[in-house]
């Protein structure tokens, strides 16, 4: 058998995207710790607030949106670390970088899988925690919408910081130092949108701004992550 360029049946970009997505989901499924820990962290942090501040339902309903949003942010920080680290350590990352397909989409696949296992569960459980914090009913829908838009932004932005630091031996707080400031706009508009529904005004403007942020993050963050990964592996 001789090797001819024509005999190579190259994968399409979509097939490589799906293969990467499937692999990452499979790894998450097998390493349940990585998935369950941030989720449990989120639930526990939110449940601590009524104990620490006051079980008074009026006071809780005032802070509910902020508490949930900050806890989501912290939980997402906790889950970011395993986005590229194990791939870097076992050499899979090099294989990913040497794929003939644009790294942009491979990174996007990894980010999507990360959001599906870390962001989505948090969004799904949030109504229950909002109920616990006595969030007025009018704001539930806005809260879920804002989290649904905000969590993928956090995954995408966090991915840049993880990609930048993946080659460092001990990174400690550096991940938080890079990621948290970049996540502040999401936090601001997320809580503002919930406040708007509480005040019976329309949250649409804030949500639209968040959607715009998501659009920017989807189109630019994987580009930055891909470049950062190339630098880290160099």
């Amino acid at each position: 058998m001789t090797i001819e360029q024509s005999t190579i049946k190259q994968t399409t970009m979509a097939a490589a995207f799906i293969a990467t997505l499937k692999r990452d989901l499979l790894i998450s499924f097998k390493k349940k710790n990585d998935v369950v820990n941030p989720f449990m962290f989120f639930v526990i942090v939110v449940s601590l607030f009524p104990i620490g501040i006051s079980p008074d339902s009026d006071r809780l309903s005032e802070i509910a949106a902020g508490v949930i949003w900050i806890s989501v942010l912290l939980a997402s920080m906790l889950s970011m670390d395993n986005l590229y680290r194990s791939d870097y350590e076992d050499g899979s990352l090099e294989q990913l970088l040497l794929s003939p397909h644009p790294l942009f989409f491979m990174v996007l696949a990894k980010n999507l899988s990360h959001w599906l296992v870390s962001g989505l569960p948090v969004v799904l459980i949030s109504p229950l925690l909002a109920y616990m914090l006595n969030l007025p009913q009018a704001a539930y829908f806005t809260l879920i919408c804002s989290l649904l838009i905000g969590t993928p932004i956090m995954s995408l932005v966090g991915s840049i910081a993880v990609a930048l630091t993946v080659g460092l031996g001990s990174r400690g707080l550096i991940l938080a130092v890079i990621t948290l400031p970049m996540s502040v706009p999401v936090l601001i508009f997320g809580t503002l949108s919930v406040q708007a529904s509480l005040n019976n005004t329309s949250p649409a403007g804030y949500l639209a701004l968040m959607l715009a942020m998501l659009a920017v993050a989807v189109s630019l963050a994987p580009l930055a992550s891909a470049t950062a990964l190339r630098i880290s592996v160099n």
């Binding site: 058998m1 001789t2 090797i3 360029q5 005999t7 190579i8 049946k9 190259q10 994968t11 097939a15 490589a16 293969a19 990467t20 499937k22 692999r23 499979l26 790894i27 097998k30 390493k31 194990s86 791939d87 350590e89 076992d90 050499g91 899979s92 090099e94 294989q95 990913l96 970088l97 040497l98 794929s99 003939p100 397909h101 491979m106 592996v233 160099n234």
Partner: protein
């Protein structure tokens, strides 16, 4: 534009070679690893890179794959600079580094399904026969953390069999292999060369291959 390229090709002595390098220079921590390094690798050839520890073998391999860009000089793939055609270069390249590229929580078959499908369409039968050929029959469904280091290395060698890549770049592929594994890999290198592919390999092991060329560093 085409005239400019053909002009540069005429100056380029090894334009017909599959992979060639001109005046490669690499420095790390103010220590020159290699300078004015020239070589050409044609199809049907196996090039063994030799050198003492720390002479820059791995760095050279990573530079040639495009994983490391801290070098000066030019690298050509079929007579054209690799930066201009990374997509087709990556499609015909298979790199196995010190780290095997095998995820420990996945099984061999799951690992190969992903790493092969980054480059080409592949079905499970091809993967299973490649795994059987490297002696992992019966281990297809065991998670890789239950396998030994040599067996994990065999998983990544199965990629070589499952893929039709023209160029293999192997960095110390013999390290964890047992005697039968070494013989198997040597046979694979020969088959690759005989079928019109090319191999670039670093090892301290004495290779018993007819089409062998040696490049010494340091």
């Amino acid at each position: 534009m085409s005239s400019a390229i053909s002009e540069s090709l005429r100056d380029e002595p090894n334009s017909q070679a599959m992979l060639s390098a001109q005046n490669l220079f690499c420095e790390r921590d103010e220590r020159v690893l290699f300078s004015e390094l020239n070589f050409a690798l044609d199809k049907g050839q196996v090039l063994q890179v030799q050198g003492s520890n720390g002479s820059g073998k791995t760095t050279l391999m990573r530079i040639l794959c495009g994983l490391n860009d801290s070098y000066e000089g030019s690298i050509y793939w079929h007579g054209e600079k690799i930066e201009r055609q990374t997509e087709s270069f990556f499609a015909s390249l298979l790199y196995i580094g010190h780290r095997a590229g095998v995820s420990k929580v996945l099984t061999p078959i799951e690992n190969l399904r992903w790493s092969c499908s980054l480059k080409q369409q592949i079905d499970d039968e091809q993967i299973l026969s490649a795994l059987a050929e490297v002696g992992l029959r019966g281990f297809e469904e065991s998670p890789c953390y239950t396998l030994s280091a040599g067996q994990q290395q065999r998983v990544s060698l199965a990629r070589l069999l499952a893929s039709p890549a023209q160029l293999w770049v192997l960095d110390e592929p013999f390290t964890t292999l047992d005697r039968t594994g070494v013989a198997l890999l040597e046979k694979m290198l020969q088959t690759q060369a005989a079928s019109g592919g090319a191999v670039l390999v670093t090892t301290h092991h004495k290779l018993d291959i007819p089409a062998l060329n040696i490049l010494s560093l340091g």
